[in-house]
């Protein structure tokens, strides 16, 4: 399993969505989840990946792929 698949799979799993419904191109706004669920998702992803991301990181995030790149960049910085 690739890292990309793993990230999108984690997002789908944590949001309880079918895996096929989430790809790197999927816009977060299209996931039909409320803001509380997005915060829960971010906290869970950080717990699982042992990475810290910040509010300013999310300003340009539109898709799941954008979010993955934020996590990857912070992981490189914090490792």
């Amino acid at each position: 399993m690739t890292e990309r698949t793993s990230f999108t799979g984690s997002v789908a799993g944590l949001l309880r969505l079918p895996a096929g419904q989430v790809s790197s191109e999927t816009e977060l706004s299209a996931l039909s989840v409320d803001s509380f669920a997005l915060v829960e998702l971010l906290v869970r992803l950080q717990e699982e990946m042992q990475v810290r991301v910040f509010q300013e990181d999310l300003r340009e995030v539109k898709t799941v792929g954008d979010l993955e790149r934020v996590f990857a960049a912070r992981r490189r910085e914090q490792s």
Binding site: S35, E40, R44
Partner: protein, 191 residues
């Protein structure tokens, strides 16, 4: 039974109820998302408290002969819209601390309105004790996160959320002030 609440009182108490429900749902989700440990433990009590507060307001309104209004928007919705989504645990706690301080301020203001129904005063008293603990545990948890996130970043985050809080409060102040003013006037008129 005839309602002992004015229209404005009912709206305000229903707004408090909705905000407590939103708080409980938010913190419940976070408690589910967090790793086990002391913060998760306190967060679990926090969301249980908020759920109880929603129940206190529901009971209070019904005992005063009314039914809670179903309000679509809570204070938290406006908060997240203005402050942006908190992205990590420290930011969640920072926005929570700012919000809890605002709640205590608003409840303190309201509980000093003259001639409140005794049950409303009692409900404020029950909730305020919990709210003081909320501020204490969240402050302690933020302090413990400073080594991990950096004290400067934590202070900057708190400052940013305080600014957002002020902006949200100012945006709803007229609405609340108007309702509170009418409420006070209404009570005086009943004398």
């Amino acid at each position: 039974m005839t309602s002992l609440l004015t229209e404005n009182e009912l709206w305000i108490l229903s707004f408090y109820r909705s905000s407590e429900i939103s708080g409980s749902l938010f913190f419940g989700r976070l408690a589910r998302a967090m790793a086990p440990g002391p913060t998760q433990h306190d967060m679990t009590k926090h969301f249980a408290d908020e759920g109880m507060h929603a129940w206190y307001w529901t009971s209070c309104i019904r005992q005063l002969g009314a039914e809670p209004l179903r309000l679509d928007e809570s204070y938290q919705d406006r908060y997240l819209a203005a402050a942006g989504l908190p992205a990590n645990l420290m930011e969640v706690l920072a926005i929570t601390l700012t919000f809890e301080k605002r709640v205590i301020g608003q409840y303190s203001l309201h509980r000093h309105v003259p001639d409140l129904q005794p049950l409303v005063t009692e409900t404020f008293a029950r909730i305020m004790d919990d709210e003081k603990w909320h501020i204490q545990w969240v402050s302690d948890a933020i302090e413990k996160l400073k080594p991990e996130y950096g004290a400067e970043r934590v202070e900057a985050t708190l400052s940013r959320f305080r600014d957002a809080d002020q902006s949200v409060y100012e945006s709803v102040l007229n609405e609340h002030e108007e309702r509170l003013a009418e409420l006070i006037q209404g009570r005086r008129n009943r004398r």
